[in-house]
């Protein structure tokens, strides 16, 4: 047995203007899950503590919250793994959401982004090849199974640094779920789906892998890369900066073996996009003043032909 001190964020949007914290001590085995400790505190000590929960076994996705500074499912987190030396377990509502009551948040922005995907299969009408149902092979299904495990707990969304500065970004879960339909052979709206998620800032993913903490191992980070590749191979919204950036990086590495910083900036923003270039100019000026501008032209690395051969063999797209 151990004394677990739950340090809980308390707030009620109906009555409070600022949040406060309550520390509730419970005597339980230290391997108790954070959710069970909260349940115990609620039933035995303070019935007003509010949090979402249902299945208690990482299937429903309700109990995601910020635990000891990082977000995860309370039902899947043992107290002894997050306790500090004084036995304190700090619990807060998920970041990137408006708090509603204690650990309960307004989930609307998350659901809105999800419903924009039209998250249901949209197959073509029956045709001669498909007189009855559209079938999917086990191999094709394999690609979708991991994403289908998503329980929409919003852990990835809460951890996403891009969401925290730009709420227009679709977020990891929605992009991973877009992948689930984009790569489903039964669906007939692939291009529309890629265009939709591109409009919702697919290319704003910062490659930070914060969503690799997914409690269900959906790995949205890898699915985001898959959707970007789909956008490039299907040539959807190629005038956006994201695909231009990827393709100019590819071109410079094929050319010199190196990522040519100067060329990448021009190729992404647009060589003749004066307004765009002016916006990146202040940083350029600051760097120039310190004599740290990247070279205008890069000398290719030794044996760059080998690099070019790799690109050509793999038919890598470049701009």
């Amino acid at each position: 047995m151990a004394t677990i001190k739950l340090d809980i964020f308390r707030f009620d949007e109906a009555t409070d203007t600022i949040p406060h914290r309550d520390v509730v001590a419970v005597d339980l085995p230290e391997t108790t899950t954070v959710l069970d400790a909260l349940e115990y505190a609620k039933s035995e000590i303070d019935g007003s503590i509010s949090f979402r929960r249902s299945c208690r076994s990482a299937i429903c996705g309700s109990c995601s919250m910020n635990i000891a500074g990082t977000t995860g499912l309370a039902c899947k987190t043992a107290c002894n793994t997050v306790m500090d030396e004084d036995g304190v377990v700090k619990v807060d509502p998920m970041p990137n959401f408006q708090p509603m009551k204690d650990l309960v948040v307004h989930m609307d922005p998350f659901w809105d982004k999800y419903s924009r995907l039209k998250p249901y299969l949209q197959p073509a009408d029956r045709d001669e090849e498909h007189p009855t149902e559209r079938r999917v092979s086990p191999e094709d299904m394999k690609k979708l199974v991991d994403v289908a495990n998503c329980v929409m707990c919003a852990t990835c969304y809460a951890l996403c640094p891009v969401v925290s500065v730009d709420p227009a970004f679709a977020g990891p879960a929605a992009i991973a779920y877009a992948y689930r339909f984009i790569e489903d052979v039964r669906d007939d709206h692939r291009k529309e789906r890629i265009a939709q998620i591109s409009e919702d800032y697919l290319w704003l993913c910062a490659h930070c892998y914060a969503c690799s903490y997914c409690p269900k191992h959906v790995d949205p980070n890898d699915r985001i890369i898959d959707v970007k590749r789909a956008a490039i191979s299907d040539r959807v919204m190629m005038d956006e900066r994201g695909p231009r950036h990827a393709l100019v990086v590819s071109r410079t590495i094929k050319h010199s073996g190196m990522l040519e910083e100067t060329e990448v900036i021009q190729g992404t923003v647009g060589r003749f996009n004066v307004r765009g270039l002016l916006k990146v100019a202040p940083l350029g000026m600051r760097m120039a003043m310190r004599g740290k501008l990247p070279p205008l032209f890069m000398k290719p690395i030794p044996k760059v032909d080998e690099v070019r051969q790799i690109f050509e063999t793999l038919e890598v797209p470049v701009s």
Binding site: S164, D166, G257, M287, G291, L314
Partner: protein, 317 residues
């Protein structure tokens, strides 16, 4: 001895001439693109530090870019095969270690290596292409960051004993950069959620580590061009936390983070208030503590001048 020539004004003093004894540990060295382009001060301070440590960094001069986390967006195989080519070069030189000085290089080169070593199919694919120009990778290389080398191979105690100019309690906020810790399945050298290697290092060289929630968050470098304002906002958010917790300077093992943190604090001031935290490349601060003269470390190349913070702690006059 490295095959790369240092800039004349930053070349090591004669008294620092590299040890050439057979005891000298030799490492393959992959500096990455940015250390050769806009952050040359990182490259130079790395070589000066290696010199002080008595290790030999052998630059893989024919290596290509690691893919920079962007090449995966255009093709699923190309970054892996490019990195296999780099590893083949290291193997041909008899080098097992490839040392990086960039978080993004570390993460992506380790990911490529893991895919190659764990999948015969992928290794065969890579070697089929490498074979066209007579190269072959056998899977013997380990990719490690210089930070890991300092802690595992040199050791904090030994490093501490080598300090001649301790940081006098300079309050340094560690900024890890994503790809040296995440995903944990690829890096796994320390906990991605609660890393402490930079803190340990700061302590070993006489500084005071500053804890703050932003230390494992993203600097926004990889989306700086995708939409205006995103990277400065991410920088501002993180630097605000560091500053509020008392930081006087930042240390990062990643030149991409360095470019964002050093470059965008001016832009984030409107929203997050002025932070103006000078940011050091990892080897700069360690080399400084080990006695490399400050003027050799390229500190004049930083947009936010670190010298005021250093004068305040009597590290330079």
């Amino acid at each position: 001895m490295s095959s790369t020539t240092l800039l004349p004004e930053e070349a090591p003093l004669p008294s620092h001439a590299r040890t050439k004894s057979s005891q000298t540990k030799r490492y393959g060295f992959f500096p990455g693109c940015v250390a050769k382009e806009s952050c040359k001060e990182l490259f130079n301070s790395t070589m000066l530090l290696a010199d002080k440590l008595g290790i030999e960094l052998i630059e893989l001069t024919a290596a290509s870019c690691c893919g920079a986390s962007v090449l995966n967006d255009v093709n699923r195989d190309v970054a892996r095969v490019l990195n296999a080519r780099t590893y083949a070069q290291a193997e041909a030189l008899g080098l097992d270690d490839v040392i990086t000085i960039c978080s993004t290089c570390t993460g992506h080169m380790r990911a490529a290596n893991k895919e190659l070593v764990e999948s015969e199919e992928r290794m065969t694919q890579a070697n089929a292409i490498l074979g066209k120009f007579g190269a072959r990778y056998n899977g013997s290389v380990t990719v490690r960051h210089l930070l890991w080398l300092l802690i595992d191979d040199i050791g904090l105690d030994r490093l501490s004993s080598m300090v001649v100019r301790p940081l006098n309690g300079l309050k340094v906020a560690p900024f890890y950069g994503c790809h040296i810790i995440r995903p944990e399945s690829v890096n796994g050298w320390e906990s991605a959620r609660q890393p402490h290697s930079l803190e340990d290092l700061i302590t070993a060289i006489g500084g005071q580590p500053v804890d703050y929630a932003g230390k494992t968050r993203c600097c926004g470098f990889h989306v700086q061009l995708e939409k205006d304002g995103i990277a400065p906002a991410m920088v501002g958010q993180n630097m605000r936390m560091a500053k509020d917790n008392g930081a006087e300077a930042v240390i990062t093992p990643c030149p991409l983070c360095h470019l964002a943190l050093d470059g965008y604090q001016a832009d984030s001031a409107a929203r997050w208030g002025r932070t103006d935290l000078p940011t050091f490349h990892l080897p700069q601060l360690v080399a400084l503590a080990l006695g490399v003269p400050a003027e050799k470390l390229g500190l004049n190349k930083h947009i936010i001048d670190p010298r005021d913070a250093m004068v305040a702690r009597e590290l330079i006059s």
